[in-house]
């Protein structure tokens, strides 16, 4: 017997829409028009839709990373740094191996990104397994530190002498993922979440290792005393989470910006956490959650462009939404848990 239950996220999403509409009504001289640009306009042309879909792909990958580590009882707050590391590793790979054919080169770039992100998270994971270092802190600190180093690399040793922007040399044409929705950056990478999400869902629910991972997450002391190898389950999920973030970073590079621009992560790491929260930390919820978040992001961008909504106000709306989602979803969870 399956009972229909309203997902925890739905009332929160409704609240979010209400609040953003309220802010727009308060501050915009033509609220109707602004609202139009904020919501339906996203589907009005190929550029807007494609950008939204591209963000959705990236967010579903980082969200998956968060869900996976969370199920194992780890918190990955280092998403930003891992995405950034993934991107810069891909830049380095492209510099070191300029002569590969495109069909081989792109996977190599992506693999470099995966490795970079994984390595960064692995450090936090192994620290947790060996010395019980709090992963929440160590992922965050590592990521913040590494981000500054990458900022330096982009503005210093790797910077493009021909550009006035803080950026690395653009990727050669053959290392770029072709757009499927010109002029938007939406590209073939949409297949990745379609493959990876079911794969991880299956892993978590239909394999012994998946179950052991979740037992470790729900009661690490029980897992320890009943002889599960908790060291592995404290290290690997976090590492894979970092790998997924690194993958997203490499995809941003090869699919969206084609060059290592400073700050190219544009909140992918943090927003991945929001997406995971909206999805209720369940893999099947990730795609709709990523869609919602990508839509809001894209909508605010368009509204800023076309209406009298200021850039700051757009950012404020996004910030309010983020706050609402993270606090409200958590609260509903806690109440249900009781």
């Amino acid at each position: 017997m399956k009972k229909f239950r309203i997902p925890a996220a739905l009332p929160v999403l409704a609240l979010c829409l209400g609040v953003s509409a309220l802010i727009i009504f308060l501050f915009s001289s033509a609220p109707g028009e602004t609202l139009y640009y904020f919501f339906p306009a996203v589907l009005s042309n190929r550029l807007y839709t494609g950008e939204m879909l591209n963000t959705m792909v990236l967010l579903s990958l980082t969200g998956l990373g968060i869900v996976l580590s969370f199920r194992a009882g780890s918190f990955n707050l280092g998403g930003e740094g891992q995405v950034y590391t993934g991107a810069i590793c891909a830049v380095l790979a492209a510099r070191l191996l300029p002569d590969l054919p495109g069909a081989l080169g792109i996977p190599v770039l992506l693999a470099a990104g995966v490795l970079g992100g994984a390595l960064l998270a692995f450090i936090s994971g192994i620290l947790k397994a060996l010395w019980n270092v709090d992963d929440l802190i160590s992922t965050f600190l590592l990521s913040s530190g590494v981000s500054k180093v990458i900022d330096y690399l982009i503005s210093g040793p790797l910077s493009d002498p021909d550009s006035y922007l803080m950026t690395t040399v653009p990727l050669p044409e053959k290392y770029r993922l072709a757009s499927l929705m010109i002029p938007s950056p939406f590209n073939i990478s949409f297949i990745l979440p379609l493959l990876l999400l079911p794969l991880f869902h299956w892993f978590l629910n239909h394999t012994r290792q998946g179950y052991e991972l979740q037992i470790t997450g729900s009661s690490s002391s029980f897992a320890r005393h009943s002889g599960l190898n908790t060291g592995i389950y404290q290290t690997l999920p976090l590492t894979v989470s970092g790998a997924l973030h690194g993958l997203a970073g490499a995809l941003v590079l090869t699919g969206t910006y084609f060059a290592g621009i400073q700050g190219l992560t544009s909140g992918l790491g943090w927003n991945g956490i929001a997406v995971a929260l909206i999805a209720g930390n369940k893999v099947p919820g990730l795609l709709p959650a990523a869609l919602f978040f990508a839509w809001i992001t894209q909508g605010s961008r368009i509204a800023v462009l076309h209406s009298d909504l200021s850039l700051e106000l757009g950012a404020i709306i996004q910030g309010v939404l983020f706050l609402l989602i993270s606090s409200a979803v958590l609260r509903i969870k806690i109440r249900r848990g009781r």
């Binding site: 629910n205 239909h206 394999t207 012994r208 998946g210 179950y211 052991e212 979740q214 037992i215 729900s218 009661s219 002391s221 029980f222 897992a223 320890r224 005393h225 009943s226 002889g227 599960l228 190898n229 908790t230 060291g231």
Partner: protein, 501 residues
Amino acid sequence: MSDNSKIVLELKNVTQIFAESGVRACHDISMQVQGSEILAVMGENGAGKSTLMFLISGFMEPGRGEILCRGGKNPADLRALVGMVHQKPLLAGDLSVLENIILGPEKGLFRKDVLKEEIAAVQERYNLPLDLHLKAKQLTAPQIQRCELIRALWKNKELLILDEPTASLSTTQSEELFELLLRLKGEGKTVIFISHKIHEVMKVADRIAVIRRGELQGIDAKGNLSPREISRLMIGEDTLPGEEPAAEKRGEIDRTGVPVLELSNLGYSETGTRRLDSINLSLYPGEILGMGGIRENGLTHVEDILCGLEQPDTGFILLNGKNRMPLTPLKLRRSGISYIPADRLKRGAAPESTLAENLSVLKRQAGFGSYRKRLFSWAGQFISDHAIKGEAKQKVKTLSGGNIQKMIVARELENNPPLLIVSEPSWGLDFKSRDRLHSQLVQAREEGIAILLLTTDLDELLSLSDRICVLTEGRLTEIERTEEQWNRYYIGEKMTGADRA
């Protein structure tokens, strides 16, 4: 009883039941505390002593009944009257001793140097030297206690409560503390102290109250109680029905081979206090070795060390004759050893996970295809085979305590381990489940499993064990199987230290 004017505090039918766990910590307790006396509160672990003290000090409010103080029942009056020295350190670790002492809502603006002089004067007066600039987290257990004591004296509390003050003190330190208590009594202060060591209670207390399973068993002047009587009040007279010594029904145990478990010269200290002192024991296949004692007298440390959570300071643990140091929970399990922990909901089970997931750690679900399908069909079978009342998909936290223990025991015995470490197996079980559990343990022994039974339950200890040893203040004493020693009174007196009073 003396005249009413001397009564500082009066408890009337105080009952406290914790809603979350349903534990009845105090039941219908009525007593009076008089001015300038030393009242000792005694009882086994979990008897409700600490809860009672929390109620008296105004930390908690009683569920039913009332606590009268200065003729009223205002908890603020209580807090003003009572200074408590806790058993578990309750200091702010990053603040200095001085800051911890002056911490409190009473003062508005203050001058630290003036307060410091005041406190130094208190220290001088009562001879309690302690560096006020040390960080609280650097303190050892006796120093923490001293810090709390200085605070209570400086705030000029009339009623001092000390929760197991001697648990972490050496003999000389205890002597000094008792001298101080007697002096405070001379100055008109009232002292309540909790202890389960009869000999020290007989030395300093004026009156003694004994609590058992949340109920007040008796309160009387020291002169009217003998150590033996106190010991009996503490452990209770009632032998549970339907229990007979199972151990005598069998022949000799072969103790010539290699022991399954051997502890050699094990020692353990915690915050500067010796908790275990050169523990030696050997355990052979097919026997139950019962280790009795009071939880704080080292039994928890033995459990933590044997399950690999803590590392001993000295000595070795040998499994099947091989040195397995440093022991970790994973290593223990890889050696095939089973462990039924006292803390069932943390170590023994994952309450938020399903019954099937809790059983999955046995790794019995071979085959291909979806693990979920295999696991749930296997677990359903296992659950019905072992008559556990629950379903594979049910969360463990929704099960009754007895059923959770049933699940844990069935799981731990399933793999036919060479060694089983059991701690407090019958805590919170009713008679029927208790009997069932005991016969399971005896059955396991008949199959050649070596069992180490850690328990504070005397009846359980006597009815199951082939050999008994008792842990008192970190030392192990073996009980001889003689008429004189092999009974609950002798062991009870050994456990509580009544024999040394």
